[in-house]
């Protein structure tokens, strides 16, 4: 059953330059997220992968009502939780929570861990009295010793702060957790602990995860479906195994091929991708990827491609989808 359904979501920021709009009185907008449509089923994980500047974090913030969106719609559990500009209903924030990118910075520095993880109760369940017991329950749930409740954020490690962030995100038994780069900056051994914990919570409480990440190795293991974002658009979306086995969009293919591996004899294929992401201020006409695309043709710079179903069953926005990965 579909839990979250996003249609044509667009987030724009006004351009602020030295004299922007000063003479004409018109504001220019730059689309950071342009026209995203997605469905997330209950109790599953959807990963949104892409490079920095692809708009994936902005998209996550828009879903939490932290950034207003210009157009599009959002349906959670059959209802629209909030208008494009406005604060989300409390009932929505009761069921949807977010894990932030920087684990230590997202914790109020002068509050104890115990106070921090019970903050959702103070906000949504003021009737609840025994917060100490709740704090203990949550700490145990994420595998931290119960005496951590007395510590302060600066006294714990990055991996532990992640666990605290996760404990706070699942405190109210939400149905959806939006995880923004849940493993960024973590060592591989600690990264596994956090991911295993997320998988366990999903199995036990049937919580859905919307995971924002640039780490494709993590995506491959953790998500049911994968969406690859480029310059504010989803270029390919489908079941994770199919997207990885035979990516149809040249960008998705290049990104997957560029993924480093420590296996001896593995050669990553970085040659396919030259240059860097274009500035959203000067979005290329047609397909935004065409200046970097190894398979670009005249049509690509003229019209933007519409999503179509690829041979593998994924939704691909490309005029000339690949039949097979170029390196296989």
């Amino acid at each position: 059953m579909t839990l979250l359904s996003v249609r044509d979501l667009t987030v724009s920021y006004p351009v602020r330059g030295p004299l922007a709009g000063w003479w004409t009185g018109q504001k220019r907008f730059v689309d950071v997220v342009c026209g995203i449509s997605l469905d997330l089923a209950e109790g599953t994980t959807l990963a949104i992968a892409g490079e920095s500047g692809s708009g994936k974090s902005t998209f996550a913030r828009a879903l939490m009502g932290l950034t207003p969106f210009r157009s599009g719609s959002l349906i959670f559990d059959g209802k629209a939780p909030f208008p494009a500009r406005g604060r989300p209903a409390r009932a929505y924030l009761h069921q949807v929570s977010m894990m932030f990118q920087d684990p230590v910075a997202s914790l109020s520095p002068r509050r104890t861990i115990g106070a921090l993880i019970t903050e959702p109760f103070r906000i949504h369940r003021p009737d609840l009295r025994n917060l100490e017991a709740e704090a203990k329950r949550l700490l145990v749930l994420v595998g931290l010793p119960a005496d951590f409740a007395q510590r302060y954020p600066h006294q714990i490690s990055g991996g532990q702060a992640r666990r605290v962030g996760l404990a706070r995100a699942v405190a109210l038994n939400p149905r959806l957790v939006i995880a923004d780069e849940p493993t960024a900056g973590l060592d591989v051994s600690v990264q596994g602990e956090i991911l295993n914990l997320m998988a366990r919570l999903q199995a036990e409480q049937s919580v859905a995860f919307l995971m924002i990440t640039h780490n494709l190795a993590v995506v491959r293991h953790m998500s049911d479906r994968t969406a690859i974002m480029y310059m504010g658009r989803i270029v390919e979306e489908g079941p994770t195994d199919r997207v990885f086995a035979s990516p149809a969009h040249p960008y998705a293919a290049a990104l997957i091929a560029a993924e480093p591996s420590s296996l001896p004899g593995h050669h990553r294929h970085s040659a396919a991708l030259k240059g860097e992401v274009s500035s959203p201020l000067h979005r290329p006409d047609g397909c935004a990827f065409h200046p970097r695309c190894p398979a670009a043709r005249p049509l690509c710079s003229a019209t933007a491609p519409l999503p179509q179903v690829s041979a593998s069953g994924a939704l691909v926005s490309c005029h000339f989808p690949l039949q097979r990965t170029p390196d296989q």
Binding site: V190, Q191, A254
Partner: protein, 326 residues
């Protein structure tokens, strides 16, 4: 054979401050030959950045070298007067950091900063310095280098900033480049580009590179030899292919097993290394990894293992290996 460009032996570093003194590095030894790329891999707290700063002699106050030596082209740089050391920095060895936004000055144009680096060379005229800066920027693949000299760091994208930082480090043609987590903040496609650049630079100007990273994939991509650091000790060192393909130390094996990119079949139960890094204010008497080691013996807890050679240029510090050799 020429002496190695960098030769560190028995280096121990202690941090003392308000808390108990921390023995951040203990008897660390490694060498970098001319034109070689040596990787230092380790998790946070393993002391890899401390090692880099010790080589540059840029350790913060409170850190002191308690034993060992650092030789650069045969000279013991720990004994060098500060004035000579300053001359060596930049010209002999240069360093690139993780975040160019904090490592370079944000309020000076990049051209000014690059020409300042060359101030010490009286033989160079202003035009020469400018030409050198342009050449360095071109070398790292910055388009329209001449026009970019007057721009500021924030006007460039992340990948370009790191290229500028590398260009600046290479201005005085150092023999050793220390790269401390320089691709950590970059996306995979940019990381691949920067790694390609480093490899080309090595091939072209023959400078040695000490490449510090916690990213096993990046290490695999460019390093000739790799040193594995755990809690301030070198536990295994050898050719990169051996370290990543036929590791002998249980920690190296466990670390590699954790890398999700090495696990072919998707799983939601990823391997982890149970336990915590030991408290370095009172490091354990025996093997540094004993408490977390799945194969630890009783002597692992009581006796510190010695370094033993298990192959050409491949050394391991582990009792299990010693036993096998006997």
């Amino acid at each position: 054979m020429n002496p190695p460009v960098l030769d560190i032996s028995g280096l121990s570093i202690r941090f003392s401050g308000r808390t108990d003194p921390v023995l951040a590095l203990r008897e660390v030894g490694l060498s970098v030959q001319a034109g070689e790329i040596v990787g230092i891999v380790g998790e946070s707290g393993s002391g890899k950045s401390t090692l880099a700063l010790a080589v540059m002699r840029l350790l913060a106050t409170g850190a002191s070298v308690t034993a060992g030596s650092v030789r650069f082209e045969g000279k013991d740089i720990l004994a060098l007067p500060e004035a000579d050391m300053r001359k060596l920095r930049g010209a002999g060895m240069a360093m690139v950091f993780q975040d160019p936004m904090t490592a370079l000055n944000p309020v000076l144009p990049i051209g000014t900063q690059m020409m300042d680096v060359l101030f010490r060379d009286p033989a160079l005229s202003r035009a020469d310095k400018r030409a050198r800066a342009v050449a360095a920027l071109k070398r790292v693949g910055l388009p329209d280098a001449e026009q970019q000299l007057g721009r500021y760091l924030f006007q460039f994208s992340g990948g370009m900033r790191q290229r500028i930082a590398i260009a600046m480090a290479l201005l005085q043609r150092p023999r050793l480049l220390i790269a401390d987590e320089i691709t950590t903040a970059l996306d995979v496609t940019l990381e691949a580009q920067i790694l390609d650049l480093l490899r080309d630079l090595r091939d072209e100007i023959g400078c040695s590179i000490l490449f510090i990273s916690h990213n096993l994939g990046a290490i695999a991509a460019i390093c000739d030899r790799t040193v594995v650091l755990y809690a301030g000790e070198v536990i295994e060192a050898g050719p990169t292919a051996k370290i990543l393909g036929a590791a002998r130390h249980p920690y190296t094996k466990a670390l590699l097993a954790c890398d999700p990119s090495r696990i072919e079949i998707p799983t939601r139960n990823l391997p982890v290394i149970p336990g915590e890094v030991p408290d370095l204010s009172a490091p354990p008497k025996g093997c540094i990894f004993a408490a977390r080691c799945p194969a630890a013996l009783s002597r692992c807890v009581t006796h510190r293992p010695v370094k033993s050679l298990v192959g050409r240029d491949h050394s391991v510090r582990c009792h299990l290996i010693e036993g096998a050799a006997e």
